[in-house]
Symmetry: C2
Subunit: 310 residues, 2 copies
């Protein structure tokens, strides 16, 4: 089944367009998770990494139990796991499995991008299996990966080929949610006075039109930060068959509101709202148990977003 069709089915079934972002941080673990994390007083760095990795998995498990049924995608930020070394990688693999077991599509947020030979190696890290003279290597087996397009489409193609074979999707940066995103994405080009992000959008939309699912959406999706919603109408015009991932809701200042409406014009599955810290840390604002506060916030975001389409 085409990636976009898998996503569309999940959106319809769960009545949700919510992405559970995971940016686990050793300083922001839930109290119950901290209590279970036993690090010997004189533990070496390897032991610390193992314990923190176990804590990341545990909090992720609790969070998925609390809000998984309200979401369609879980998006682990790879940097958070990478800083734990090998135990972090094993933790990430567990998070992928726990997420998929809960019926979620797993989107690896790695923003990878490299020359073709290295992009092919990344493809082997994330999608399907790779045969070697020594046997098969298993990838992380994610359902999607965020990708940086700066190097050109030839550098995306190896990832795309492997993703396609795995019925997975690529989420390519078109305009990110950080405060300084305007610095390069908003540069104006000579040709047609377009901005760089508009050019990227056009190129990716055309590239993605080669492989559209029955739902009418492509397996080449776009990362379009929710912190600059004034661009959504133009983005939708340039990318009519593209799924938009909207990071930056909550902690980064993005809001779910009428400004998002153009995102959903091709259908509800055409827009995914991603929130991370605002769900996991909701108890700091709302009080009560972290799991209950997370559920309340996820329910609120899911419902707000669903109501944007009549």
């Amino acid at each position: 089944l085409h990636f976009a069709d898998r996503l569309s089915a999940a959106v319809a079934e769960r009545q949700s367009q919510l992405v559970l972002g995971r940016v686990p941080d050793p300083h922001n673990l839930w109290p119950a998770v901290v209590e279970q994390t036993s690090v010997p007083v004189d533990g070496d760095a390897a032991t610390v990494a193992q314990e923190v990795a176990a804590a990341f998995v545990q909090q992720c498990r609790l969070l998925i139990e609390a809000v998984g049924d309200l979401c369609v995608v879980i998006k682990p930020q790879l940097a958070c796991f990478e800083r734990l070394g090998a135990p972090g990688f094993d933790a990430l693999r567990q998070v992928v499995q726990i997420g998929q077991a809960a019926g979620l599509l797993v989107l690896g947020d790695g923003k990878r991008g490299d020359v073709p030979v290295s992009a092919a190696a990344y493809a082997g890290a994330f999608f399907g299996t790779t045969s070697t003279p020594f046997g098969e290597l298993e990838s992380l087996g994610v359902d999607g990966l965020t990708v940086n397009p700066l190097l050109g489409l030839d550098a995306i193609e190896p990832l795309r080929a492997s993703a396609k074979q795995a019925d997975a999707g690529l989420f390519v940066l078109v305009r990110t949610s950080n405060p300084g995103a305007d610095e390069f994405f908003d540069l104006q080009l000579s040709e047609g006075q377009q901005l760089l992000w508009e050019h990227l959008a056009t190129a990716l939309s055309e590239y993605g039109s080669q492989h559209v699912g029955e739902c009418g959406l492509s397996d080449i999706a776009a990362v379009t930060g929710a912190t600059a919603p004034q661009h959504f109408a133009r983005m939708r015009e340039l990318m009519p068959r593209t799924i938009f991932l909207l990071p930056g809701i909550g902690a980064q200042g993005g809001e779910v509101g009428a400004a998002l409406a153009p995102v959903f014009s091709p259908g509800r599955a055409a827009g995914l709202v991603s929130a991370s810290r605002s769900i996991a840390q909701a108890y700091l604002q709302l009080g009560g148990e972290p799991t209950q506060a997370a559920r309340a916030e996820a329910q609120r975001l899911r419902s707000l977003t669903w109501k944007l389409v009549d």
Copy 2:
């Protein structure tokens, strides 16, 4: 000691500007390494990954023994290790240690780039240590990291701050070595009719001028593919104090020749020539033992490059 001064000292001492790129591939291991790699016939994927990871470390060790003294930097491609999962990460850590023990600076080729909060997590993965409530986490401890600038300088800053504290450097993509690099890097901007890579070069040069070593070079270096040497004069003009990393020599078609001369105008340490497969696989062209062929090719590239400056 400032990163550029560390590099300059190594260049002068070893009379070399050579970067040993490592893109280990299970299909391209040396025969002696393959013979030592024992995978049970019915080995599961985890066992295969462990064995391949051990083979990567072993070949890297042999290669460093063969050519390490002819090089100043070793540049492992992170994708190659990432596709092995946790064993790959442990192997990468060993490669970093073996490289540093041989007096090489280690440049992680990850082309990372993310929003500031995630860039800070990557900083923790690559540079220094991170304190957590559970103890200290150790990073990979590399001396440099390749970085993708598309998201803007605010997204580079957390990496830069950590790199600086570790006397490390960032190697930021200005124009890459892949055949399709022209697609976006060569877009023409309205302002000043500059190309996108020229704009990136200008911005990075200014950004890098905040922290220049005694040798006159910055800790913000640039990745400038060797496959389009016609740009080097202009690149040097725009980035007078920037170290250029030149990937793409050898297998990707780049050559060491007079066209590289502008790269070295601020001094020999201002240009690093990177070759990967052309060194490790030299025996396929030259015949003989892989270690001896690698040494001959490394010697040739080192000498050719050194002679470009009078």
